[in-house]
Symmetry: none
Subunit: 196 residues, 4 copies
DNA sequence: AATGAATGAGTCTTCATTCAT
DNA sequence: AATGAATGAAGACTCATTCAT
């Protein structure tokens, strides 16, 4: 039930925003009465913090698992696969993605903190794990350049991510292809620079 | 006063979301009583539709003016300048930018419609105006490729835009630099392909 | 304009009741702004007291004029004509009739007072004027009986009056006919008793 | 509590009209807070529709029971008793009677519909039940005449009913007596016509 | 003669929350 | 584990009224 409540909370949040996601709507969605929510969560804020926590954790776990499934591919394919993996994850659960996007403009301070930590966490993890792959393939790359490549990849990823709410169907598929091409170009440069 | 109300509405919206942007908060921000708002706008929805309309119009006008100020530069600089211009515009008015981002997850159907129209409008305009610059510089480019370049540029722009809320200070400046590099690469390819 | 306001007030009152007849609705109906009403009437209560006063005065004047036009007919025809006259007056201005009915349940004490005075006034007038006609035709009738006949006539009139809101078209016409028959019977009795 | 709310709603309605019968006044009358009303009724309109429904149902049941208690008396006494019964019912609960009268000028369309149905229902019922009594006593009466007698009786009843708000104490008692006399006359005619 | 701008009080209604059961 | 009943605070909005113009 706690999980059903979190799902409902995220869903309502994604549709109506924090103030519009009322306890009643959430309760109705899981088939209980508003008063019953308080048996599981102390109050609205607690529920939402748990919900957002889970959202971010899932998001992170998902990225880890995608990376894990591709760690034996060539670097450039890893970057590409990771992008596709994340995109697939988001597209497969648009409701949560909307929640995730809304998070960025969340009106609750505690949640913004969580989000910032999450972002730093992801960044560290990306730099560390992707960095090690890059260095393995291009041992001559400077730390600084490794950083740069990862950040550019993230920048492209952000662009695609933002497109999730802006483009639909074929238009969005095209976005992913365009991103792929740019990643490809990124690695062409590296290849040329470090492997001849 | 109608304009002051729109500003306040956007500000409150950017901070608290639609349901959290109460008439009282908006009224207080402009120094009148809640009841007085209804002298200027029929109701909350009307006020917000006017506000968002203006937000989108300003946004578009801003892009136009940036383009106008750079239309005599070389193409690659136009693309770069346009990106910087938009970023500057958004950074210079973070409150409105947050409102703009929140718009994407707005709970009011009428507003989503407006937003979609706005997006299509911008797209058309970009393809048309930037397209003509590209074709002038690289007459051999196919329409299809013109389209692709513009869309990649937009993708990078979206990445930067999304970063506005995620990065601060130097970190954000770095984002713009990274984007610039990628645009640069984009045009290097074109140069190589079409001008030798 | 003062008269237009009174008409509008009565109309709105008949539709929505006192609390539902807002200054705005009244102003809109006469094509001015609410604030302008206060140039003509001190406040809502004053306006309505004037309106009701006029309503009752008109009502009374109407009855007088009907009686005047028939004062040379035989008594029984006077009674019948008076009934028809009143009914015609009310049917011809249903809006005011509704207002008149609503008056009886008015929530404003001052108005109830007015109404009571009006009722007493009408009663006195009826007893006096109709009484004199009766006594002229049936000199042997006791004051007490004169009173009784008038009151029965009023009772029938009240029945018809109440029917204005309950019956429509032919159904209402039938009511008036039924009333006529009963008045006829009333005078048959008198005839039998006093003129043989 | 739902019933207490209905009583309070009718009482406030009878005093102040629909728009003047505020949720606050109703809540106060039953000793709860306005917000609590919404636990029992969806909104103001729902509450009032339930209230008026009950008012009309009670009214009808009352008439039925009066008729039932007198069905073995002679016809003319049935008519008289029914009148007295209805009058007693109304006089015994003036608050509800005022509500009933106000209903006729109610500003809510749904309620007017209910009222119309109620009136038709009562009419049918009167014609059917009183009609059968009349025919039993005067087998030679035509359906048409049966109809007429009933309608005249109703007309007198309406007159008395309307008098409830106009007359007080002895004056009202007199109204009932006058009505009684007229009913008496009505049956004298029938007696003379059909039983000699 | 009329109104634009403003407001305090009050309207219906919803919200998060509580607590006894 | 769940809810019926209740509520204080706040939500959007309306109302009668004022006053400078």
């Amino acid at each position: 039930m706690k999980n059903k409540l979190i799902d409902a909370a995220l869903n309502q949040y994604s549709i109506h925003g924090y103030h519009g996601a009322t306890m009643r709507k959430i309760a109705t969605e899981v088939g209980i009465k508003p008063a019953s929510i308080y048996f599981f969560y102390e109050n609205k804020e607690t529920l939402f913090i748990a919900a957002f926590q889970q959202l971010l954790d899932d998001h992170f776990r998902q990225m880890e698992s995608v990376l894990n499934n591709n760690k034996n591919s060539p670097v450039n394919q890893i970057f590409s696969a990771l992008l596709h993996g994340i995109v697939a994850h988001h597209k497969g659960d648009e409701q949560r993605t909307t929640a995730y996007i809304s998070l960025v403009t969340s009106p609750i301070p505690k949640i913004n903190e969580h989000l910032n930590n999450h972002m730093l966490h992801i960044n560290d993890w990306l730099v560390e794990s992707l960095g090690s792959f890059l260095k393995k393939s291009y041992p001559l790359m400077s730390s600084c350049e490794v950083d740069r490549v990862i950040k550019q990849w993230v920048l492209i990823g952000n662009g695609v991510f933002w497109g999730i709410k802006l483009y639909e169907g074929k238009d969005f598929t095209e976005q992913v292809e365009l991103a792929d091409q740019m990643i490809h170009t990124l690695f062409l440069e590296l290849e040329e620079k470090y492997t001849k």
